[in-house]
Symmetry: C2
Subunit: 374 residues, 2 copies
């Protein structure tokens, strides 16, 4: 994807390619980050880049625990936190810990394309279930997907690629269902919530915490989106303080962090985020982009569910074949990703974490592409 | 290991615990690193912490390729390099790329304990073969370990835990053997060389390059030891420019880097190392530690092969049961690791990347422990 954008920009000029194909935040990290980074770079203490325990610095884990305690109805301790190489690292650490070969994980579609790979890394099997037309959870479909091999349900809210935020109500329903299934099987069925977009939400919405809703739960997250640091690979996995066999699970996560070859989350970034847990990029800038894009696409006749968070829009493809439509857009130098890649054909993803001017100038291309078919 | 050291230091005082259990460099990163880090922290350019292509920044890959071209009889290009989350990341990326389930990898013992896990991550099978009494390669043993499932041989030179550096001559023998076996099976058998200690060698010795010796080869390495940055997780995987099906292999490595959840090597450190490829910590400081330790242990009656590189000494345990002897040392607050953990019972590992004073003051404990048995 990266390479296609680079290739086209070399060919047609930077200003004539509208690259919506990547979730690479355009907004710079907040000034607080830059200040802390500068301070850390000039820190003359010793061992600042050495190994630390595989779970991370004690101070960093404690700071994350305190943050989670402030934002949840649970008391977290540092031992509930494992610092990881981004949310990708966190998910792999969690999956390595809980999965036996051929265990199944239920995933609502559309879903982040890497989940299939992450499961395959640990010999897990994805069980993809659809969502409703507004991308909310289809709890009947989830219920029906359970088998004796089901180890977990993996959700992503705010969602990539739809921007959907699951409501407190539907998460409580999901929690009830998971409790029932755990009782049925006499062992916990886990809920894993992938939440790197938690702070990027619009119109005053809040993302409910699964920690308040379901005991056997994990959160995987990163500072990639809310601090615009995706290249630095800093994130964490948190367990519900009340999860069963917590010591065993956290020990497994720490070991997994080590033996998967991550070893630990990058040292400098672990120090940096201690003071940045309540900081984020200016979310209103993304909201403005969403609104510009939505207004433009509506006037051109595109249909979509308005995103509540993240920086993705997932419109219907005007024709059934989303791959063909994405090709048509590409001919206009508008780069997007087919919904098929997210387990949801008939749609396509627009990552609108781009300069406002790209959104504005892309409208001609979006217009030409849709006019070919309608 | 980390935790045991922390626990004992809390109990007995920092100065009364002699922790030789971890390969965590004591020497600070070179001043050149600190200068560059400070410059990068104050860089006001945009997108400095954003995603880049999964293989790494083009400039970083090119700088590594140029460095390898300077130090080998091969011409490397940026596309021969994949930047990784340390050497652990590099090894997992290489193994994920080349291994099918149940493929075997021949590993001379003693070996770095993580190799077993790294193979298991990708459903590979370790075939452990002994080395000779001076820890040089036992080429007959390697030859006999080949089966139709053998996909690679994995070596580590300078070696953890022995400090052995394989000679040009034995590597050439190994290359001949690998060529024979590749011909026998009609497909390449790969040589993977794990080389994070390449620059940490003593007495003017040089580590021969496998790139000059065997075509179907990979190097995994990091800046963890030569720049003392293990906590920052920055390293790379390099393929031999002449490897068969290079494009397919490198594409596989880049994909593996992404889907194993690493995504990319940390951005800031990728930028930092561009100007640091010919820099390293002051190796003579480690040589001094080796010499102090060797002199002390010799006078106490310990037997060992003198290390040529890295910062490990792997003496014979005075009694057969190395786990028991390591316990005896622990009672003197001297923390080491049993050879059994490296597939080589009857020995134990001393990581001497510690302050000189720790080596000096530990001699009483080393003396008391051996006196119990001899």
């Amino acid at each position: 994807m990266f390479e296609e954008g680079i290739r086209r920009k070399a060919l047609y000029g930077d200003d004539n390619v509208y690259d919506f194909s990547l979730g690479n935040p355009i907004i710079e990290p907040p000034s607080e980050f830059k200040l802390i980074l500068s301070q850390l770079a000039n820190d003359t203490g010793s061992g600042r880049h050495a190994y630390m325990p595989n779970a991370g610095y004690a101070e960093t884990r404690q700071a994350v625990a305190d943050y989670l305690t402030r934002h949840n109805q649970r008391r977290f301790s540092s031992s509930d936190i494992v610092m990881t190489v981004g949310a990708g690292g966190a998910l792999n650490v969690i999956l390595k810990t809980i999965l036996d070969p051929n265990d199944e994980v239920i995933i609502p579609s559309p879903y982040f394309v890497e989940y299939n790979f992450y499961l395959e890394n640990h010999q897990g099997v994805p069980m993809i279930v659809g969502t409703r037309s507004d991308f909310s959870l289809d709890l009947n479909a989830i219920d029906e997907a359970f088998t004796e091999k089901t180890k977990a349900v993996l959700i992503n809210s705010p969602n990539n690629p739809t921007g959907k935020v699951y409501s407190e109500e539907e998460l409580r329903e999901l929690g009830r269902l998971l409790n029932e299934q755990s009782q049925r099987f006499g062992r916990p069925v886990y809920l894993i919530s992938d939440e790197p977009y938690r702070k990027i939400v619009y119109d005053g919405i809040e993302v409910p915490s699964i920690f308040n809703i379901y005991k056997e739960s994990f959160v995987a997250t990163s500072f990639s989106k809310d601090l615009s640091l995706p290249g630095e690979r800093i994130g964490y996995a948190a367990v519900n303080p009340d999860i069963l066999e917590k010591d065993l699970i956290v020990d497994g996560m720490v070991l997994s962090n080590r033996i998967l070859g991550y070893v630990n989350a990058p040292a400098l970034m672990q120090r940096a985020i201690i003071g940045l847990l309540d900081v984020s990029v200016e979310v209103s800038l993304y909201q403005k982009k969403r609104d510009m894009l939505c207004a433009g696409l509506t006037s051109l006749g595109y249909q979509y569910v308005k995103p509540q968070g993240a920086f993705y829009l997932f419109p219907k493809s005007p024709i059934e074949d989303d791959v063909e439509f994405v090709s048509a857009l590409k001919e206009e130098n508008v780069l997007t990703v087919p919904g098929s890649g997210f387990g949801c054909p008939g749609h396509f993803r627009i990552a609108y974490c781009v300069p406002d001017s790209v959104i504005e100038r892309s409208m001609t291309g979006f217009g030409k592409a849709i006019k070919r078919y309608v």
